[in-house]
Symmetry: C2
DNA sequence: ACCTGAACACCGTTCAAGT
DNA sequence: ACCTGAACACCGTTCAAGT
């Protein structure tokens, strides 16, 4: 993904957004392990210590990066759709947003594992679920379940993308070459299947209550 | 959890198991961020470089730690039970195993995010699901969904345990004190609910096919 | 408001050499 | 078979001081 930033305007002072933008660029091009404060600083032609004027620490920075990734998810118009389609569409939009940056899911996953990022993702899933008017506790638990599945699945997908691109020989039980395209179709199917399981389960739950 | 190791037998040479044991002890007492190679080495009264005779690198070590945590899950007798109870019991046993070590879920999550640990967890869930004789692709996708939900939920639980113990003020929307006990009941309920959603969804799926 | 310079207290990993 | 010693190439973070 090309972060359409206005050109850094050589040797200017920086803002929070500049820093996040540069972090996203490093992330997408070199991956999470290479996203260090020192490297980020040198990208911005600044001392590492300068970053701590903008962010309290690296965790906070990564939370901001997570928010940026999630906020890139396309907006879904829920005007006419039932809760099930709404949730499915949100899940797919969020998956695409995570996939659009290298290691995107892992960044968001680890931020949210620390209780920081991913707030917007939960909000969006919750809003979609809200169209189903479930009990509030059910709604919360369901949103969490969708989010956990989502982050786990996509981060697994991206790990395999990474392994593939490095030519790692996992030597699975495959007979056919299993090219990249059919692989990615399988991933998508398996993702949609998981989402469908959760939706079907929720539907049973709501039927039981009426 | 008290790892019932035979006492280190002062200033003996070490084996892989010793190293993993010591790692588990550090993990449980001080948490994942404090589980460094250098600290582990000094716990074993050994130079950091010595660890690299036992393990290729830190990732490999952490994968072994993950395996140990998961293998602590109690064995379920599936003799009489249907697939749904089998899966539910497995999920609960795995959750308990993860909860029995500080940061247990996060260790396993990050190992499996790198494609290393958690193999046994997948195997156990798959075996339980196998009693339902689903299509093979369905079985695989479902096992993955359960695992993702499981790891995500428990690591979230443990993050909150951590935050609570540090007295972090998250200032949620609570009216009541919400003591530790009721909190942990809620967590368990929300976990069981997620598992139930997935099971119900699968049941619908299997009904549709017969 | 934003950054420099310099330092502190660490990391994971490699490798020749020892016993 | 298992470990030492010493080094390499890094980390995140703090803080006084500069403009």
């Amino acid at each position: 993904m090309t972060t359409n930033a206005s050109p850094p305007a050589k040797s200017q002072r920086h803002s929070r957004v500049d820093v996040v933008e540069a972090a996203l660029a490093i992330l997408d091009e070199y991956g999470l392990p290479d996203l260090t404060m020192r490297r980020l600083a040198s990208t911005l032609a600044v001392q590492p210590s300068a970053l701590y004027w903008h962010f309290e620490n690296k965790q906070t920075l990564l939370a901001a990066v997570s928010d940026r990734i999630v906020s890139g998810a396309r907006v879904i118009d829920h005007g006419t759709s039932d809760w099930a389609s709404a949730v499915r569409l949100e899940a797919e939009a969020l998956r695409d947003a995570l996939l659009s940056f290298r290691d995107g899911a892992e960044v968001v996953l680890s931020s949210q594992a620390l209780g920081l990022g991913a707030g917007e993702a939960l909000t969006r899933l919750t809003a979609a679920l809200h169209r189903g008017d479930f009990d509030e506790r059910v709604e919360r638990a369901a949103a969490g379940a969708f989010l956990h599945f989502l982050l786990g699945h996509v981060s697994h997908e991206q790990q395999r993308i990474q392994a593939d691109s490095l030519g790692v020989v996992t030597a699975r039980h495959e007979a056919k070459p299993s090219d990249v395209e059919s692989r990615s179709r399988q991933e998508r199917d398996s993702f949609d299947f998981g989402v469908a399981l959760l939706i079907a389960g929720l539907a049973v739950q709501s039927d039981a209550l009426r």
